[in-house]
């Protein structure tokens, strides 16, 4: 069982290792383009700057490839080359049905096991050459496509609709409760469908003239990567060298409002990381909501500061959320580390 868990962990990390450069390229190009383009209530305005639009489009393409690459290389880790076709297709569909990175992880694992099972089917010598170039790609691709588009698509889509309705009926009620829900949703899957549901709600409200919902989202968007980055700096011994490197990258991504910067941490240790970042983001969202922070741009993090109302409270909200996230994850991680560390004490 332990061996099986370690193998799954290795498979997931293989996918993550291929997806990281895509997140960096997409996230940074998009934020650069947004930072230099004039901000309007409808989003960044690229009408006057075709060059910035080009940079934005390149970044968007890199983001669009990220989920297929993630799923594709999880499947590749399980089944080798035959995993690539169903894996890439599964990741593409996961984006298509808005199942986000959780959907892509699921698709990658499914694709890998399907391809691995098909590889093991005994066939006669004459048929063997057509297995890897025809039979396995077509069968595995079709199967994953059907699974993702029918079986998984409907529940995810209905989940989205329910979340959307619930949010809209709540907005007239308790502001603080709404901020807790929005902040937690933003952090929960770090750029996935739950995050995007809350984000689109905030962005849509900008057009309605309500800037505070986006303000709460904007503060919550950046605290997961900022908080994880701060955590790796506060107690360096709790973190491996590569986690500390991911922490530096996380801070950079947090500054430009890319929640995805926390994914490397969440993928490696979801049970401790996801609750920590959800609470940190909720704290940031509540402070922003109570302080009537408004965000006129459909984007988050310190990078949108020029288009934010009540700038000081916004900075305070982000700082508080970041510190809460960092302290929580380090507290949760410390006992776990003691159990496996070198200084094991005999009772």
């Amino acid at each position: 069982m332990l061996e099986f868990c370690q193998k799954i962990r290795r498979d997931l990390l293989t996918g993550v290792s291929y997806a990281i450069p895509f997140i960096a390229c997409g996230g940074i190009l998009i934020a650069l383009a947004i930072a230099f383009a004039p901000m309007t209530p409808a989003g960044p305005d690229f009408a006057q700057s075709p060059r910035l639009k080009l940079v934005y489009d390149i970044g968007s393409a890199s983001f669009a490839l990220m989920l297929p690459v993630l799923a594709g290389y999880i499947a590749y880790a399980i089944a080798g080359k035959p995993g690539l076709v169903p894996g890439f297709l599964g990741g593409y569909f996961s984006d298509h049905i808005r199942a986000g990175f959780l959907g892509a992880i699921l698709a990658g694992l499914l694709a890998g096991y399907v391809a691995e099972a098909l590889k093991k089917i005994p066939v006669s010598k004459h048929l063997r050459p057509i297995m890897p170039i025809l039979v396995i790609p077509i069968l595995s691709g079709t199967l994953i496509g059907i699974l993702m588009l029918t079986l998984l698509g409907r529940p995810v889509a209905s989940l989205m609709t329910h979340a959307d309705l619930a949010l809209k009926s709540m907005s007239t009620g308790n502001d603080v409760l709404l901020a807790v829900v929005l902040g937690s949703m933003i952090a929960f899957d770090m750029g996935g469908p739950v995050n995007k549901t809350a984000f689109f709600f905030g962005a849509a409200m900008i057009r309605e003239g309500n800037y505070q919902i986006m303000g709460a989202c904007a503060a919550a968007i950046c605290t997961p990567p900022l908080g994880m980055g701060l955590a790796t700096m506060l107690r360096r011994r709790l973190w491996s060298t590569e986690e500390r490197e991911a922490g530096v990258a996380g801070i950079l991504m947090g500054l430009i409002g890319i929640t995805e910067g926390a994914i490397p941490f969440a993928a490696a240790d979801p049970i401790r990381v996801i609750p920590s970042i959800m609470i940190g983001s909720a704290v940031a969202a509540v402070i922003a909501m109570v302080g009537k922070v408004g965000d006129h741009a459909p984007h988050g993090g310190p990078v949108v500061l020029p288009v934010v109302d009540h700038k000081l409270v916004y900075v305070l909200a982000i700082t508080a959320g970041t510190i809460v996230t960092a302290i929580l994850i380090n507290l949760l991680k410390a006992p776990a580390q003691k159990g496996t560390g070198e200084k094991k004490e005999v009772p």
């Binding site: 370690q6 290795r10 990390l13 290792s17 880790a77 080798g80 491996s240 590569e242 490197e245």
Partner: protein, 99 residues
């Protein structure tokens, strides 16, 4: 003893190469001949040839992600450990060879 090894970590910019250096220095003090292939962010470096693998008595995988081109090692006895193990206690890893 002739040993081949592969190191790989998820980000592939620091740990992969630290582990490779540690394996090389430990092998030297123990009197083994070792060649370490790194599978980092730049892809496969110092690639093990077919001859390297054929002549090796044992292969050590110090990896947190899946090994690229694993098929090359069919028929070789493989010891697989988490990469951290090599950095924490390299002598333990080499001790596994004789077990």
């Amino acid at each position: 003893m002739k040993i081949v090894a592969v190191t790989a970590c998820p980000t592939g910019i620091a740990h992969t190469y630290m582990a490779a250096a540690r394996l090389e220095s430990t092998a030297k003090t123990l009197g083994h001949e070792i060649k370490v292939e790194t599978q980092g962010a730049l892809g496969i470096e110092n690639k093990l040839t077919e001859k390297d693998i054929r002549e090796a008595h044992i292969a050590i995988f110090a990896v947190d992600i899946e090994v690229e081109e694993r098929d090359r090692f069919n028929g070789v006895k493989v010891i697989q450990v988490p990469l951290q193990e090599v950095l924490k206690n390299p002598h333990n890893v080499f001790a596994k060879i004789h077990r």
